[in-house]
C-alpha cells in the first residue's frame, strides 16, 4: 500500500495496534471512534467473540479531508492478541506504515507483553521489515490501575524501549494518552513522506 499516491493525490497511512491479548488495543480504537465526528469516520469493523475478544481484527478508517491538496486517510487496525492467531497478525501487519505497540502495564502481564513484542519483531522480519526501520510507538496502557499492580513507565521503558522510540502512558478506557499516541505515530509516519519514493 503506498503511503503517498501523487496521481490520485492521496495519502493513506495504515497504522496497526499490536500487543498481547486484553492489553487495550480495541479500547484505543473505540475511544478514537467515539471522538471523531461522524462525517469523518467510517464504520468500525470489529469481529469479536462472544467473550468480547477480537477474533480477527478491528478496522477503523478515518477521513482527515484534504490537507495541502492531498486527500488524507488513516486506516487503524488492531491485531488479535491471542497467541494462536499469529497468521491473522501477519496478515494485518502487511503493508503497515506504523505500529503502536500497546503494553499492558500490569506486572503480571509482563511476560505476555514480552512474548508479543518478540512476536512483532519476528512477524515484521518475516515480511522483510527491520523493526528499526518501522515507525513505532510504545503505549503503556492501564496506568490508571493501582500502582502496586502495575509497572511504572520508566520500568517499562527499561524493559521494552531499548531503541528509544516514543513511549506514552495511557488509560485507553478513559481516553488518556490515546490521541497522544496516535499523534506521535502519525508524526513519525508523515515525516517520512518526502523520504518515500512517489508511487505512480
Amino acid at each position: 500500500m503506498p503511503l503517498v499516491n501523487f496521481t490520485t493525490r492521496e495519502i493513506t497511512c495504515k497504522l496497526v495496534y499490536y500487543g498481547p491479548g486484553r492489553c487495550g488495543k480495541t479500547t484505543n480504537l473505540l475511544y478514537i471512534h467515539g471522538r471523531v465526528p461522524e462525517n469523518r469516520r467510517g464504520m468500525m469493523v470489529s469481529l469479536a467473540t462472544q467473550s468480547d475478544r477480537t477474533l480477527f481484527f478491528d478496522f477503523l478508517p478515518l477521513e482527515l479531508g484534504v490537507i495541502s491538496g492531498f486527500t488524507t486517510r488513516f486506516q487503524l487496525y488492531t491485531v488479535p492478541g491471542q497467541v494462536y492467531y499469529n497468521a491473522t497478525r501477519r496478515l494485518v501487519l502487511q503493508g503497515a506504515d506504523g505500529v503502536v505497540f500497546v503494553v499492558d502495564s500490569q506486572a503480571r502481564r509482563f511476560d505476555d507483553n514480552l512474548e508479543s513484542f518478540q512476536n512483532l519483531q519476528e512477524n515484521l522480519l518475516d515480511q522483510g521489515v527491520d523493526i528499526r526501520q518501522m515507525p513505532i510507538v510504545l503505549q503503556y496502557n492501564k496506568q490508571d490501575l493501582p500502582p502496586d499492580l502495575i509497572l511504572a513507565p520508566a520500568e517499562l521503558d527499561d524493559a521494552f524501549n531499548f531503541r528509544g522510540v516514543p513511549s506514552l502512558p495511557a488509560d485507553a478506557l478513559h481516553g488518556s494518552g490515546v490521541f497522544e499516541t496516535l499523534k506521535a505515530l502519525s508524526g513519525l509516519v508523515l515525516q517520512r513522506l518526502a523520504a518515500r519514493p512517489a508511487a505512480s
Binding site: 465526528p37 469523518r40 479531508g65
Partner: protein, 658 residues
C-alpha cells in the same frame, strides 16, 4: 470604535494612518501586504479596527476578516475537522479585507503558516488587501515558516509610535466620549503626562480613575489620581532587597472562558495538517528557490511556474533536476553560439529551457559558420600511460590541472624526444578533461595550426577562425616546435593563450625540444609559455618499459612469462615506440616459428641475429653499457655486460652477466 483621527494627532503616525486608510479605501497597494509595526499599546489593534470601521461605513456589505492568530488557528482547526479546510481558504481569499493582529503569535500555530502564506499569495493575485499588525519587525520574527517570511518581507511596513502627551490627552478625552466631565480636565492631562510604557496602560488607568470618581463625591486632584493609579514614577521605586517581585495577578480576561471538553480529534488533525503542510511546503520552497535562482540567471521558468501553480502534486525534485540539466545546457549553448555568431548573443531562444531543441539547432547553425573543432583521439587514455620516474612529473602536473587545485599552472609545456608518449599524454589529457565535462576540447598538431592560420588570408575569415577557438574549454597543441619561424601562427597562438588564460581554461603544449632550444619563438609567445609550467617527458625508464612490455605481451601466449618481460624491459630503448618495436619483433618471430615467445627466442632475435643494431641502440640510448661481449653460460646466453644508471663512477655498479 477607533477611527483614523486619533492617529493623525501624532505626526509620527500619519504615514501609517494614511497607508491604512488607503488600504481600507481600496486605493492602496493590494499587491503587497501592509505590515503595521509598533510596540505594545501603540495602537495597532485600534488602527486595524479603524480600517474595518471605515470600510464597513463605506461598503456595509463588505466582508471583513479581523483575526488574531489564536482565532485563525481555531477556525482552521474547526474547518479541518469538518472537512472544510479548503472552504476556509476560499472564504479568507475572497474577503474584501483581511486584518491579522499580533502576527508574532502566529509562531505558536505552525499549522497555519502555510494557510497564511497561501492567503497572501491568493489575495495578492486577486488584488485584495491584507494587513498584518506586529510588534516585531518581519526580519526579526522567529518561529515563522520561511515561505511565509518571504511573503511578509515583500510587504510594505509602516510604523506606529507611542503618542506624545498632547495626543495622549486628546485620545483619553475621546475615550470619555459622551461623559467628558467624568474626570476633571487637569486629571486627564496629568494622566496623559504620566510615563506609562503603552497607551493601553493610560486607558486602563483612565477607566480606574473614572470608576473611583463615580464612587466619590470629592473631585479627584491630579496628585491623588497619580497615587491611585500608581503612576510610573511611584511604581518604579526599587523593590526591597531580597524580596522577589510578586507574580502578576492573572488577568481574568485572558483566561479561558471555562472548561470545555477538549477537541482531541481537532488537535490531532491540526498536527497532521501541520506535518503534511511542512512536507509539501518544503517541496514548494525548493521550487521557489529554483525559480528565483534561474530567473536571476536570465532564464525563463515557465515549466517550474506551472508546477507551482499546480499546487504541488508530486515531489518536484526530479523535475528540478531535469530543469537544471536543461538550463545548464542552454547556457552553454548560448555561450558557444555567441562566440560563433555574435549576432546570436542574447537571443530569446537561449533564455527558455523549454525550447532546448530549437536552441540546439540554432547553436549547430552557429557552429557551421566557423567550422568544427578538432577533438582529442578517443583511443588514448591518460590512465593507460605507464607511469615511472621518467614521466612522473608530467603526470603529476596533468593531474593537478585536472583537479583544478590552483597548483596546476596553465599553460603546461611538455617536452621530450620522439616516441616518449607526448601525443598519448596530450590526447589522454584531453579525453580526461572531456570526461569531466570540459568542452569542447581542441586538440591539434602544430602543423595543422600553422596551416589553419595560413589559410585565413581574409580578415573576416580570420575573425571567424579566432571565434572558433576562443570558446573552447581547453586547448591542447602537439608539435609546438613546428611553429618555429611561423610568425603569424605564433602571433595568433599568443593572442589565443591570453584569451584562454583569462577564462582560466587549461592549455597543454607538447614539443620535441625544450623551450630554450626553440630559438625562433617570438618573445611574447615564449613569455606566455614560460609563465606556466614546463616538464620533461624523459625516455622510458625500466619501470615504464616493463609496464609497456607487459601490456604488449598481455594478449600473447607469453603473457605470464615474467622472465621474458623482464628481459625485454631490460633492453635498451630510448622511446616507448622502440620498446614496442622490440616486442613486436619477438612476437613476429615467434609467430613465424610457431613457438611460444620466450627469453631464449628474444635473445636470439635481438642479440644473435642483430648484434650491430643492438649495439647501436645501446650506444645511442641513455642507458649506457660496457660494450663488452662475454661468452654465455648456455647455448644462447647474453654476450653483453650492462651497467645501468652509471652517471657517476662512485654510484655504480650493477653488473649482470647473462
Amino acid at each position: 470604535m477607533s477611527d483614523f483621527e486619533t492617529f493623525v494627532l501624532e505626526p509620527a503616525n500619519r504615514a501609517a494612518a494614511a497607508a491604512a486608510r488607503a488600504m481600507a479605501d481600496g486605493t492602496g497597494l493590494p499587491d503587497r501586504p501592509l505590515i503595521v509595526l509598533g510596540g505594545a499599546g501603540t495602537g495597532k489593534t485600534e488602527l486595524l479596527q479603524a480600517m474595518a470601521s471605515r470600510l464597513r461605513d463605506r461598503h456595509p456589505s463588505a466582508v471583513i476578516e479581523l483575526l488574531s492568530p489564536d482565532l485563525l488557528a481555531e477556525r482552521y482547526r474547526g474547518a479541518l475537522a469538518q472537512g472544510r479546510g479548503d472552504a476556509l481558504r476560499a472564504e479568507l481569499a475572497a474577503a474584501d479585507l483581511v486584518l491579522i493582529d499580533d502576527l508574532e503569535q502566529l509562531a505558536r500555530h505552525r499549522e497555519c503558516h502555510g494557510l497564511v502564506a497561501d492567503l497572501l499569495d491568493g489575495r495578492r493575485l486577486a488584488g485584495r488587501g491584507t494587513v498584518l499588525a506586529t510588534a516585531i519587525p518581519v526580519e526579526q520574527q522567529s518561529g515563522l515558516d520561511a515561505r511565509l517570511l518571504r511573503r511578509l518581507a515583500d510587504g510594505t511596513t509602516v510604523s506606529l509610535a507611542l503618542p506624545g502627551p498632547a495626543a495622549r490627552a486628546e485620545i483619553l478625552l475621546r475615550r470619555l466620549g459622551d461623559h467628558p466631565d467624568a474626570l476633571p480636565g487637569d486629571v486627564v492631562r496629568a494622566l496623559a503626562a504620566a510615563d506609562f510604557p503603552s497607551m493601553r496602560d493610560h486607558t486602563g488607568a483612565l477607566s480606574r480613575l473614572v470608576a473611583f470618581q463615580e464612587a466619590s463625591a470629592v473631585p479627584l486632584s491630579p496628585a491623588d489620581a497619580m497615587l491611585l493609579i500608581g503612576a510610573p514614577a511611584l511604581r518604579a521605586a526599587p523593590e526591597p532587597a531580597g524580596e522577589p517581585a510578586p507574580e502578576p495577578a492573572p488577568d481574568p480576561a485572558a483566561s479561558p472562558a471555562g472548561p470545555e471538553a477538549p477537541d482531541e480529534f481537532g488537535a490531532f488533525l491540526s498536527e497532521v495538517a501541520a506535518t503534511v503542510s511542512e512536507q509539501v511546503d518544503r517541496w514548494r520552497r525548493s521550487l521557489e528557490e529554483a525559480v528565483q535562482r534561474w530567473r536571476e540567471a536570465g532564464l525563463r521558468t515557465g515549466r517550474l511556474d506551472a508546477l507551482l501553480q499546480e499546487d504541488l502534486t508530486a515531489n518536484p525534485e526530479p523535475a528540478l533536476e531535469a530543469f537544471a540539466a536543461d538550463a545548464e545546457e542552454l547556457l552553454a549553448l548560448a555561450r558557444e553560439a555567441a562566440v560563433h555568431a555574435p549576432d546570436l548573443a542574447g537571443a530569446e531562444l537561449f533564455r527558455d529551457p523549454d525550447q532546448l531543441s530549437a536552441a540546439r539547432a540554432l547553436c549547430e547553425d552557429a557552429r557551421s559558420r566557423t567550422g568544427p573543432i578538432i577533438a582529442p583521439l578517443t583511443q588514448y587514455r591518460l590512465e593507460e600511460l605507464a607511469e615511472g620516474a621518467s614521466n612522473r612529473a608530467a603526470l603529476r602536473a596533468a593531474r593537478e590541472l585536472l583537479a583544478e587545485t590552483g597548483e596546476g599552472r596553465s599553460p603546461l609545456v611538455v617536452w621530450g624526444g620522439p616516441g616518449v608518449g607526448k601525443s598519448h599524454f596530450l590526447h589522454g589529457f584531453g579525453n580526461a578533461l572531456a570526461a569531466r565535462g570540459v568542452g569542447p576540447v581542441a586538440c591539434l598538431g602544430g602543423q595543422a595550426f600553422v596551416a589553419e592560420v595560413s589559410a585565413r588570408t581574409d580578415a573576416d575569415d580570420l575573425a571567424g577562425w579566432r571565434r572558433r577557438y576562443r570558446w573552447v574549454g581547453a586547448l591542447l597543441l602537439d608539435d609546438l616546435h613546428l611553429l618555429s619561424g611561423e610568425a603569424r601562427a605564433q602571433e595568433e597562438l599568443a593572442l589565443l593563450i591570453e584569451e584562454l588564460q583569462e577564462g582560466r581554461r587549461p592549455m597543454v603544449f607538447a614539443s620535441a625540444r625544450e623551450l630554450a632550444e626553440l630559438r625562433a619563438l617570438d618573445p611574447p609567445l615564449r613569455a606566455l609559455l614560460e609563465s606556466g609550467r614546463t616538464v620533461e617527458l624523459g625516455p622510458p625508464d625500466r619501470e615504464v618499459r616493463l609496464a609497456v612490455v607487459k601490456r604488449l605481451l598481455s594478449g600473447s601466449a607469453a603473457s605470464q612469462d615474467a622472465a621474458l618481460a623482464d628481459y625485454l624491459a631490460g633492453r635498451p630503448a630510448d622511446s616507448v615506440r622502440a620498446v614496442q618495436g622490440l616486442v613486436a619483433r619477438v612476437l613476429d618471430e615467434a609467430a613465424a616459428q610457431r613457438v611460444v615467445p620466450s627469453p631464449t627466442l628474444a635473445r636470439e632475435v635481438l642479440e644473435v641475429r642483430d648484434p650491430v643494431a643492438g649495439a647501436a641502440a645501446r650506444v645511442s640510448g641513455p642507458v649506457r653499457t660496457s660494450g663488452i661481449h662475454a661468452p654465455g653460460m648456455g647455448l644462447l646466453r647474453s654476450r653483453e655486460k650492462m651497467i645501468e644508471e652509471w652517471p657517476v663512477l662512485a654510484d655504480r655498479l650493477m653488473l649482470e652477466l647473462r
